[in-house]
């Protein structure tokens, strides 16, 4: 009973649910503002993503006649719920050490593609040709970035397992790093960290790898036919995903804490998420153009995968 209460608290208030939603929308606001400032524009207010959500929730919903209505309505809810559960598993070092028995990296590996799958469902259910192209591109992109992510998680698991075996629980990974130093400062883990940095823009659909949405050519692909509250749901999903991916990066590579209690550590966690987003999403997307599908696929197979494998090899050798 108590277990259930604490799980619902973690799912709905902290670190999932309310906290993750607010943090994710705030991160997105900072992302847009900083991107604008880097391009010498004034940029939107930092609370702009909140305004967008409020506006969209008051708009009319239009569903195309030719769409599969049930799946069309189900896709955003599916993606949103998947990300809610994923956000619940993210440990906030120094405040909350992750769900015991639940915070498993393999589980996150299964939950992380859910937004991509929701996009595929949405694109194919909307019966729009742009949605269909977006769906196929999303699939290619997903296969490309899952490989480095898998190898990175494997490397971290083996490293955190110590001398014998491997450790897949996020809480244990964080505890190991608290005892033995953060992986981000470990020479053999730096290639894995760079691979993870390359994985982030792919999974977030940020500019060099925003193939499925591709505003100038596909008009946001799978999202093309969505309007009103359902589109707001997709926006909330991607805000949650931002927190999940950044939180995972913090937990895997920089889970260090600072003295000063839970509140200071919460601020420290938010700061680290923000810095990670700045390096991997904002600066990259304001300085680059979009790659083609084949270029993206080759990029992910050539660089991040190889870097992740280098890290894996080093970790196995030094064990």
């Amino acid at each position: 009973m108590l277990d259930m209460l604490s799980h619902s608290f973690h799912l709905l208030i902290f670190p999932g649910g309310l906290f993750a939603l607010l943090l994710g929308l705030l991160l997105k606001g900072f992302d847009r503002k900083i991107c604008a400032r880097l391009q010498r524009r004034v940029g939107p207010p930092i609370l702009q993503p909140f305004y967008d959500i409020i506006k969209l929730s008051q708009k009319e919903t239009i569903i195309p006649d030719t769409a599969n209505k049930a799946i069309f309505k189900f896709a955003p809810v599916f993606g949103f719920m998947g990300m809610m559960v994923a956000a619940m598993l993210i440990p906030v070092p120094g405040v909350w050490n992750g769900a015991t028995g639940l915070g498993d990296m393999l589980m996150l590996l299964y939950l992380l593609p859910i937004p991509a799958i929701a996009f595929m469902l949405a694109g194919s259910a909307s019966s729009s040709p742009y949605g269909a192209i977006g769906t196929s591109r999303e699939m290619v992109l997903m296969f490309a970035y899952e490989i480095p992510l898998l190898v990175v998680l494997l490397t971290v698991a083996i490293k955190a397992g110590g001398a014998d075996g491997s450790e897949f629980s996020l809480a244990q990974v964080v505890a190991y790093q608290h005892a033995n130093g953060s992986f981000g400062f470990n020479l053999s883990m730096i290639p894995a960290f760079i691979a993870f940095l390359c994985f982030i823009p792919g999974t977030m659909g940020a500019v060099p790898f925003d193939l499925p949405e591709a505003e100038p050519e596909l008009l946001e692909g799978p999202l093309l036919e969505y309007s009103g509250p359902l589109l707001a749901m997709f926006n909330l999903m991607s805000a949650l995903k931002m927190v999940v991916v950044m939180g995972l990066g913090v937990a895997l590579f920089f889970p260090g804490t600072i003295p000063g209690g839970a509140l200071a550590n919460l601020a420290w966690f938010i700061f680290k998420c923000f810095m990670l987003m700045l390096v991997s999403v904002t600066i990259v997307r304001s300085a680059t153009g979009r790659l083609r599908t084949d270029q993206t696929f080759k990029f992910y197979l050539k660089y991040p995968s190889v870097l992740a494998y280098v890290s894996l090899g080093l970790t196995l050798l030094l064990k």
Partner: protein
Amino acid sequence: MSIIDAIKSKAVRSPWLYRINAGSCNGCDVELATTALIPRYDVERLGCKYCGSPKHADIVLITGPVTSMVKDKVLRVYEEIPDPKVTVAVGVCPISGGVFRGSYSVPIMLDDIIPVDVNVPGCPPRPQAILEGVAMALDIWKTRI
């Protein structure tokens, strides 16, 4: 005013723009693109952004005289924009036909098929005029949301 109303009133700060080219010579479209997309007159500071899909739009900018070939398509796209929405006619063509007035392929004016809220005359209008038109559309949009 309750908290809910206060939150709802924030919706006016997120107007998304959508362009329809109704047989324009592209002059006004180039002005629109350079007005809103270049950093100098950044419209994103008003919370605006250009969207590719009519289903995401709040403020629709229409350029060009409505030619007979494009009339049905304009109506169809206009219907796909979810309510509430504001219409801005950019350039002199949607108002009177402009240089195309009297042509066999320009039988109707935009006003006849779509309720227009703001007219921005000019051939093409200056960027400042377009921005003022968008600002006026924002005022109208405030009363509709």
